[in-house]
Symmetry: C2
Subunit: 363 residues, 2 copies
């Protein structure tokens, strides 16, 4: 099958065909360093979430900077990273069903330290049924500290599920995990601390206490009960992270290169980047990304392969047909998930092209 030529090392990014997501090497390195330094300074272990990049080479850079272990969201992601040599993997997902349990067992037998989470006795029973009699699997209790997604609802339930895990054949209780509501460190610390106290009273130790998230990452030290922090988005950053206060727009390592393919009216430009390049993730914004070269331009609508840009507020020069523009996406993680390759550059010159190795593997 014909595929487009891969960008070549040394090419100018402005010579590349579009749409194409790009990663600025210097911003990437700075993002990795800044977060690791902060967490090191507070004695928090750092476990990067690879869902953002899905590229083993990036995780190796995170590890080289000081990260301890990685975080995956799917079994296939963990398998790809195990294949690449990672031996300490936490999958922060309830794993259910015979096919996935078989894969999980094979993965547990393969690497030094595999850990998963559970938030119900149903999930724990399923894990125990598959792991009884073999190498035990480490299971953390997922706690809903306010985000309203998965997780047990209070410290009493967390301690009870920890007891269930500790009493289950084939399982080892590994600690607590939450994906928190951003900027709500107090709730996380109270939930964790109360659960740890309950567990201590039961004689159950809690080796890992895992907090997470990029939006309020630099407040992670306000959860003293945590032993580690997980974050994914920080590595590339995006418009939503800049809005959250985690970074500035100049820290956004991912930009999507697009071409102006039409100027139907003086106030309208159309880009060749639509929802199949930027996704429709709004994350609270009313438009679909921002264009640093035209800060007053508004990406007002996306169809699948077109982005419609409202130029009515642009007072200076406006882009012409054929011009290339860089877009900071609202949400970087979902853009990675759309492309099979990621192109890296330094000062606009391509440095490398990586396969997005853990993309598209269904589950």
């Amino acid at each position: 099958m014909t595929t487009p030529p891969r960008p070549q090392v040394g090419q100018s990014i402005l010579s590349l065909s579009t749409p194409l997501p790009l990663i600025d090497e210097d911003r990437l390195a700075a993002n990795i360093g800044r977060v690791q330094t902060y967490l090191d300074g507070h004695g928090l272990a750092f476990r990067p979430h690879i869902k953002t990049h899905k590229i083993p080479a990036i995780a190796k850079a995170q590890e080289a900077a000081g990260a301890r272990g990685i975080n995956c969201q799917k079994i296939t992601e963990a398998e790809v990273f195990a294949e690449a040599g990672f031996e300490d993997i936490l999958i922060t997902f309830n794993i259910l069903g015979p096919e996935k349990l078989d894969r999980l067992k094979a993965l547990n037998d393969r690497i030094a330290s595999l850990k998963v989470v559970a938030d119900s006795a149903s999930t724990v029973n399923g894990l125990s049924g598959r792991f009884a009699g073999g190498k035990p699997l480490t299971v953390l209790v997922e706690c809903d500290t306010g985000a309203g997604r998965c997780g047990v609802q209070d410290p009493q339930a967390a301690a009870a599920l920890a007891q269930t895990i500790a009493a289950s054949d084939g399982l080892v209780f590994g600690g607590l995990m939450t994906y928190p509501k951003a900027h709500d460190e107090g709730s996380v610390d109270i939930f964790f601390s109360e659960t740890i106290a309950r567990l201590a009273a039961l004689g159950i130790s809690c080796p890992i206490v895992s907090n997470g998230g990029t939006p309020s990452l630099f407040s992670a030290h306000q959860v003293p009960s945590a032993t580690e922090h997980r974050a994914g988005t920080y590595v590339y950053n995006d418009r939503a992270m800049a809005r959250s206060g985690h970074c500035s727009l100049d820290d956004c390592a991912m930009q999507v290169l697009a071409t102006v393919v039409a100027r139907p009216t003086p106030d309208r430009a159309v880009l060749d980047a639509g929802s199949k390049a930027l996704t429709s993730d709004l994350l609270g914004f009313s438009d679909y990304g921002m264009i640093p070269a035209y800060p007053d331009a508004v990406i007002s609508g996306l169809s699948e392969e077109h982005g419609v840009v409202d130029l009515s507020r642009v007072t200076g020069p406006r882009p012409a047909i054929g011009d290339k523009v860089l877009i900071i996406p609202n949400h970087t993680c979902v853009v990675s998930n759309l492309f099979d390759i990621m192109t890296f550059h330094r000062d606009g010159v391509v440095t490398r092209v990586e396969d997005v190795a853990a993309r598209g593997l269904v589950w």
Copy 2:
């Protein structure tokens, strides 16, 4: 690299690991037949848009039903379908830039009938510069009949650009094309008719007059100036098409199979289908798909791998952890774009697995 096992022919869909998009063969065949019969009855040629499925086998079924040629949105899509034997391809996109023009030229030399669109002299000049002296390329004028995306703004501009194309080395004027605003057939017909009249006065014939879109497809006969209709979404259908009146929810051939992985509270279920399976496309809805088995459940929020379901309005039995549910997505085309394989079934039994061959090829 390890990849998940492909679903096997004969497997029950309920035994498949999730999340996984599924296509109901009978609904697919009925969708193909219903639209073809309608357009045949009105003497309109039908050119299906393959962006929805990106699978040559589906396009062959559309062709077998009576479709004449296919519609692509990207060069790589057209290349994949040319490789599969399709000889009449319309790419409804302004093609710009040397790399894409080279690929377009190679494709034009390869298949019997390649056609593209243009909405500016810039695009036309770029095409002419590359195609002069070789096999001519057929170019249609894209018209903005109200959708506010690409396209010349009025019949006068359309006729002028047609003249430019007709006078350009290496190019042949092929006709007119629009992606219209839905339920606004009158505007499309006026735009087309006035342009055709202007062209006739100039002695320029207009062989193809191409209207498009699924939402008001069954009103296509209200554009008598059109010679053909293009549509993609109709083949699978989705929640947005049901809302538009094009189909019923029972005509939605695509459903995404997901597993209930958590029941943190009585009113909350969490699915293993998030924005990396369903996308964040709302298309005017306030929730992220519907679950026919639980019509009062609301998929109220998505994170990347989780879908949060509000069960508060469900009065009957509620789903339990481990239950599998089928979801009708808001927008089917963008779901196809997330998965490398598509699984087909009849009455819940897998019939085949197709590669989503034209996915992920960057441009």
